[in-house]
Symmetry: C2
Subunit: 699 residues, 2 copies
Amino acid sequence: MAEDWPMEYSIHRDVLDEGAVDEMAEKSNRKTSVCDKMKKSLRCSGPRLKRCLLGSVPVVSWLPRYSIREDALGDLISGISVGIMQLPQGMAYALLASVPAVFGLYSSFYPVLVYFIFGTSRHISLGTYAVLSVMIGGVTERLAPDSAFTIWDNVTNTEVVDIVSRDAERVKVAAAVTFMSGIFQLLLGLVQFGFVVTYLSEPLVRGYTTGAAIHVIVSQLKYTFGVSPKRYSGPMSVIYTVLEMCYLVPQTNVGSLVVSIVSIVGLIAAKELNTYLSKRLPVPIPVELLGIIIATVVSWQVNLKDKYGVDVVGDIPSGLQPPVFPATSLFGQVIGDAFALAVVGYGIAISLGRIFALKYGYKVDSNQELIALGLSNSIGGIFQCFAISCSMSRSMVQESTGGRTQVAGALSAVVILFITLWIGTLFEDLPKAVLAAIIYVNLHGMIKQFMDIPALWRTNTIDMVVWLATFILTIVLNPDLGLAASIAFSLLTVIFRTQLPTYSLLGQVPNTDVYRPLEDYNQVQRHVPGVVIFRSSATLYFANAEMYQEALARKSGIDITKTLAAKKKLEAKRKRHEKKMAKKAKKDAKKNPVNTVRKNNVTVIDVELERDPSLPRTIILDLSPVNFLDTVGVKTLRNIRRDYGEIGIEVILCGCQTSVVQNLQTGGFFGDKLTKSCLFTSIHDAVLYCRPESNTFTG
Amino acid sequence: MAEDWPMEYSIHRDVLDEGAVDEMAEKSNRKTSVCDKMKKSLRCSGPRLKRCLLGSVPVVSWLPRYSIREDALGDLISGISVGIMQLPQGMAYALLASVPAVFGLYSSFYPVLVYFIFGTSRHISLGTYAVLSVMIGGVTERLAPDSAFTIWDNVTNTEVVDIVSRDAERVKVAAAVTFMSGIFQLLLGLVQFGFVVTYLSEPLVRGYTTGAAIHVIVSQLKYTFGVSPKRYSGPMSVIYTVLEMCYLVPQTNVGSLVVSIVSIVGLIAAKELNTYLSKRLPVPIPVELLGIIIATVVSWQVNLKDKYGVDVVGDIPSGLQPPVFPATSLFGQVIGDAFALAVVGYGIAISLGRIFALKYGYKVDSNQELIALGLSNSIGGIFQCFAISCSMSRSMVQESTGGRTQVAGALSAVVILFITLWIGTLFEDLPKAVLAAIIYVNLHGMIKQFMDIPALWRTNTIDMVVWLATFILTIVLNPDLGLAASIAFSLLTVIFRTQLPTYSLLGQVPNTDVYRPLEDYNQVQRHVPGVVIFRSSATLYFANAEMYQEALARKSGIDITKTLAAKKKLEAKRKRHEKKMAKKAKKDAKKNPVNTVRKNNVTVIDVELERDPSLPRTIILDLSPVNFLDTVGVKTLRNIRRDYGEIGIEVILCGCQTSVVQNLQTGGFFGDKLTKSCLFTSIHDAVLYCRPESNTFTG
């Protein structure tokens, strides 16, 4: 490579320790006090207030600048396309949330309008989302199970479920949990906690959504096969449900199964066609809309419900419903689920929003997004919607059909309003199996994420473990608890990573000032005799301080306890010997006063000479990978210096960051005897310091 | 400083990128596969087996080498001293554990003998320990509360507590939880999980023991004041108990209070005397023993119990009891407490053991200690002991009176056996208030730990927060749950630390190859125009990847989204312009075929020139503090390179550790266009690479 770049590295300077650098570069001591920082962050001024207000209602700043000539047409086409998608998806995801289909339409309307006012992302399509819907389904079925609404049917003399009051209760539960999740998002946004989303790393989100997709699929199997399994809740419920389904397969309703298979095949074929024609069509074919129209017409004409017992959507009231404040009595029971919904919903929306923002070069404000979603959900909750986020598939359509601003979203809401008011009732004969098919087909993206496993296996094993653990935890513990457990696990991996560092001895790359691990390179030399250079690849803190000491002893081959014990024994021996000698000397002195001094001297020298010559003279600890030192870390370094010092090995440090030097200082590492002169700027400085016999050396 | 060391740093070499270093130093590719590692660790050989067996029963290896001449006298004196201390402490801590006093004596006997055989620390004094005892007290009072043992007293016609059966049940509970904790320790030891103790950082342990001391004190107040408050359990129980005590103060039994005050004052005075005389006495005065002897005699003579209603120890059966396997039915209810006991007990023992090991130059095997403690506790549980660990105060006495090996511990057990068999019954009249006083006085070390707060405030604020949080969590959530919460909290601080890094731009210390943060030094220069050097003080991973990007944009002053958007606009403009030009050109071509080429060229150049000249040419990211990169980290670096690349800024990396280069490689950072030549060994190499106009430069 040297031929490619005819550049040379040539430096000639004094060997620098930390103190020398501080002096040369004039280290400044100015420090911002906590008080000043607080003052600064709380300072209130006119422009700041204005900016803050404008920031919290973004529509005020962008709508006046809306260019009808440039943006309106794209937004119109895009809004209508997305609105048409919202209809079948809304109805299908309402099924997931275990509420009547019409509430899916409401959820595609109110929150979308609110987001239009407060949102900052121009391309994401807010509305119903599979993962959130299945989480809500878990809550509604837990708090309003079938078993709580059985009544005695006098006609058939059997117990039947009072579906009307059950569904009313479920809508209440869904509205309450949605409202709560909105409030959580709002609060998190107001205290600027948008950063919580950073804990949702990409492998975690992908593993999580794949796990949630399995939940979604399992929950829809009953519609596909037309059976009524028992409801399970709590951990492992997915597994119990799958077992139950296997048991119920013989009772399959053939009509439902046929409808399912036909619609799945049809949808997939149409979607493939869409992809194939995507370049030639200005707007994609509304596959799902066509699907439900055809299915409704067929179902109505053939009378699938009565002839074949196929479960259909049923009563869809037209018109909107008045706002109702959610039942406060339910808040206590849904607080955990609401928090999970808030975090997941936000996580999905912000990650998608960022992708588009980067693509089109604008900025998505994470805290404002949190506030916008919070308002969407809490206002939605009052209008009996269930929790929303943004869907990948709809957002892609919104973008690809030319949507350029939030106006597209607002227009899609208008489309939904139109449908809800006048057309919705026409879909009463739609088989639920078709909606289940729409859900399956929409999940293909999440299922494809299984391909992450081999990809991560090749790139980063720990991230693969996070993916798998999240997936399994989500399946086993359900999406709410599973999310908490997965985040905890992914944070633990960070700890584990710092607990499994690579410890290495470094050597010099010949003729340079570059030092590399001895085990990784063949041509690296220990070079300076009597000097050991040691580095840990991780920060030194309480969870790995002990390992650091052990690794140092192992790598350098110095058994500090043994050497110290030997030294102690030697000292005891010397003392005994000296005592004896002193006695003898006294005796001798009486006899022969001249010979005493010499003999004592000889003894002392004897003991001093017993220092093991194979021991190194100096150990250099390279601390460049250290991010911070806690008290345990500082103490460990001090102990190492002291212990090795006792057996005659000097320990010096090098490559500390400014903040680490600060940690050492406040942690009391330096004292009267120990100044910053044991800290060197680079390994090479430290090595040069250890070879005083040859002052300069040119590589 | 330069005058002090007449050494000079002089180097002359090629500028090195990662590829060049790999070539020069011959990077080796040998990797140990997971399979090989497994094979190696499972390999079984004769000497290995022998070493393993000898290691698990250490007494076999050290007892034959026991030197009677050197060690026996010290061990004898020390053993008797410690045994004498075990008596009052054992009885007092039995009070804490809410079991009859004699079980405290058993706990000072059986486990100590077991540890003699399996333990590796020569100086720690195993036996009852305040923190563990109060934890056990929590369990026994929860599972065998007074309320469960009320019977109707026909004599007084009131409900009274059947103390005999209550205590029997409590002993059962204590034995069960002790046995379980021993089994946990044994299992952890067998799977070599001794490292779990590394999560117990020093601030955490000290905050925890101080919090536990508050629990101990509160639980003993009832004996001091001679009242019977209600028992509380669960979170906040300490606070409720204190409130209850305040309410009950008017009902104080004056006799108990006087006895308490006298004994506390007496004990403190005697201990002070002991400290004062410590240099002149070969063996410390057995203060506590004298205390309980005097108190017993006084109580017996004055008849404190009947005359003043002072609560006394009561029936002490002489002799030992046959072993009983603990009640398996209780195991399920105590599993959480047992785990907490196992971890805390081990944590205390190993940290004390290490201190002595370091002082006397021998080695304490953390896994073997875990096994030894596990056997002590599980065998102890069968003999109805309660959980033990080692006490600081006893260990100090054991060491200072000349104890040199585990034989001292065994001798102390013999002393306790002697007392249990013949003398124990004499202490039946001992007031419980005296035992409470002994407990208080023994806690002074833990209470002194409050002084950690100001010390840590000065040295390390985050560690102070950990201390305080642990203290508060332990008090509020009780020692068992509090420990788990504290460990979780202290691990979170590690995450927070990596989330609050210092981001800085670096500049050159004049005439050197040393680069330091611009804001920390006055004489540091940006030096090379058009080059920005950026460093984060922390590892780059999912939880701070976004902040890294933001900080880079903020510090470098480059608004990447704005610049990109401007560039996009410009490109669109250019395209439109080109189209226009092309049209015009066509038209022109028809008119005047010569002029076309020039005009088109002018347009292109116009657009190219619009690159903002204030933008730097190169950004150097110093990755030396990075410990590892996960997929998010690699992706972030790739995105930064791509995004800045699009606006014409080259991003190069430097200072990567070998493992980080590995992460970049497997993470797919490098591609066809991007080789290791964008990775430099040091900042200075990268800077030199950026200034091709002047090839060499000497500081």
